[in-house]
C-alpha cells in the first residue's frame, strides 16, 4: 500500500478531501477504497448546484464486484462533478488522489470544522484496524 498523501483529510468511509486555493473542496475515494473495489466500470458523479448534507450519498462507484455509494464528507453545494470519469472510470484506479477526483464542493459556513475529518495518521489507524 502506498503512502497516504499528507496534505489531504480523510473519512472513515474512505473518502479523501483536498482544500483548494479558493477554499473549495475536492473529494475522491482513497487508494485503499479503489483497491478494495477492484477495477471500476462505472462512476456516477453529482450535478453542479446540488446541495448536499454531510453523510449524504452523492456519488456512486461501481466495479465488477460491487456498487458503492460515496458520501459527502462535508455539507455544501456541488460545484462540479468530474465529467472525465463517465468514459474513463479506470482513472480512479490509476490515480485515486489526482485525476480520479470525483467532485468539487463549496462548503457551507462552518461545515469543514463540523465535519470531523481525519488526519492521515488517524486514517492510517482506521486502515490498520481493518487489516486486523
Amino acid at each position: 500500500m502506498s503512502q497516504l498523501p499528507q496534505d489531504l483529510k480523510y473519512t472513515k468511509s474512505h473518502e479523501w478531501v483536498r482544500t483548494r486555493a479558493d477554499g473549495s473542496l475536492e473529494i475522491g475515494i482513497t487508494d485503499h477504497a479503489q483497491h478494495a473495489l477492484g477495477d471500476l466500470v462505472f462512476v456516477e458523479v453529482p450535478e453542479a448546484g446540488r446541495a448536499v448534507k454531510s453523510g449524504d450519498a452523492c456519488a456512486v462507484v461501481e466495479s465488477v464486484k460491487a456498487a458503492s455509494d460515496v458520501y459527502a464528507p462535508v455539507s455544501g453545494e456541488i460545484l462540479e462533478g468530474n465529467a472525465q470519469l463517465a468514459s474513463a472510470p479506470e482513472t480512479v484506479n490509476g490515480d485515486a488522489y489526482g485525476a480520479g477526483w470525483l467532485y468539487r464542493l463549496k462548503p457551507a459556513a462552518g461545515a469543514v470544522q463540523a465535519a470531523q475529518l481525519l488526519s492521515p495518521q488517524d486514517y492510517q489507524k482506521v486502515l490498520d484496524a481493518e487489516a486486523g
Partner: protein, 492 residues
Amino acid sequence: MALTERVIYEYSAPGRGAADQWPAPTGEAELSDLPAALRRAEAPQLPEVSELDVVRHFTRLSQLNFSIDTHFYPLGSCTMKYNPKACNQYAMLPEFLARHPLAPESHGQGFLACMYELQEMLKEVTGMQGVALSPMAGAHGEFAGVAMIRAYHRARGDDARNEIIVPEAAHGTNPATATMCGCVVREIPVDTQGDVDLDALRAAVGPQTAGIMLTNPSTLGVFERHIEAVARIVHDAGGLLYYDGANLNAILGKVRPGDMGFDVIHMNLHKTFSTPHGGGGPGAGAVGVGERLLPFLPVPLAAKEGERYRWVSEAERPQSIGRLSAFMGNAGVLLRAYIYMRLLGREGMQKVGEFATLNANYLLQRLKDAGFDAAYPRRRASHEFIVTLRRQARELNVTAMDFAKRLLDYGFHAPTTYFPLLVPECLLIEPTETETREVLDAFVAALSQIQKEAEQEPGRVTSAPHTMPVRRLDDVRAARQLDLTWKPTAPS
C-alpha cells in the same frame, strides 16, 4: 462431447430455414396501418438455420450448463436446491397447462383452489394475516411490499415518511427497491458480530422513517439476535418492518417473521419453495402482510366462499396497490411451489430449515478444520456462511475469484464471491438441505486441494479455469465496453 459451441449465427447459410414453421407471408396490404416510423427499412439479421441446426445448437448449449441437476451449486444467498421432478410433473397436467386466464371462474376451480390453499399455507408458515401471489419475482415482491408501506402511511395522512432504513447486512436489492418506490435510503452499520447496531438504529429513526428492510438471517449468514429490539425501536418511531424472504429457507417451519414483529414480507417461492430459477427467471415473489397492511394487498387474490373459489378484484379492495401482473403472476411457478409444499407437509417443512442449517454448519466446521477462515468464527451459521480468503490474497496473492474459478475445474459451481462487500475476499456458501454428506465432503476436499495448489503452484489457480468451454473471461472489459451484437469476423 465438444467442449465449445458456436454462436447460432455461425451456422447460418443464406436461404436455409425451417420452412414449415414460417409464418404466412405478410403482404403490403396488412402492413398499411403500421405507422411508417415503426417500420424498419431493412430486414433484421436473423440466423438462417435448419430446424435440426437449432435443436442441436440448444441441446449442446444445455449440455455445457452448470445446473443443479448436474452439479453442486452452493451459490450463497440464492438457495440453489433440488427441484423435485414431481412438482414439475403435476404442474404440467394438461388441465393446468390449457387453462385460459380469461376463462370463467367456474372453469378453473381446481387452479383457484390451489392458489387459495397456497395463500393459506404461506400465511401459516410466515405468521402473516394475508398473502397475495401475483408479484412475479423477488424484486417485484419487494416493490409490492414497500409500495404497501407507502400506501399505509399516505392513507393516514403521514406523508412525510419517505425514508427506508437498510442495514448494511440486508439483501443487496433492498436499496434499489426503496429507491424505485420513491423513498430515500438510509444505511446503518452492523456491529462486529454481524448484528444491527442498535445505537445507530435509534439515531436513524424519526418522523421521516417509513420503515426498515431486513433479512433475517442476514446476508452475513447469521441470525439477527436483536430482532425484537429492532422491531420495537422502528415501531415506536412509527415505521413498519419489511422482511426480505431471501433467506427464509434457514428458518422454514421454525421461526415465523410474523412472530418476530414484521409487518410485511416477500417470499421467493422460486428459492425456498423449490422451483427452477437462476439466470433471470421465472420467479414468484408472493407477499404476506400483517393486520395493518391487509387493505393494501395487490390484486387479484383467491377467495373461498362455501365450497366455491373466486377472484377478488379491485372493486372490492379500494385501497389495494393494484395489479402487478396481467393475470395471476407466474401461475406455473405458483403451482410448483404449491405442490412442493403439499409434498413436504408440515413436518417436512420443518426439516427443510433443520437440514439447511445442519448442512451449512457441518460444511463450515469442516472448512474451519481444513484451515479456512470463517468471517464470523464465533457465530453459528444459519443456512449459509462466509469464508474469507483475505489471508490467501495477502500471503499467496491468490484471490477469492481465483479459488472460485478453480472450483469449476473440480466440478463445483462457485459460491457467491465478493458479496457481501463488508467482508473482504469472501465466499458466501449455501449448501442447502438437499445435498448429502458425501457431496459436502467432496467440496471440502476440492477447496483443500486448491489451497495446496495456491501454496505450491499458484499460477494454476490464478489462471483457472482450465477445463471449461471458455477460459477466464475479462469481466472488466465486458462491463466497460458492453457490446452484445454478434458480428461476422470476416466475410468468406
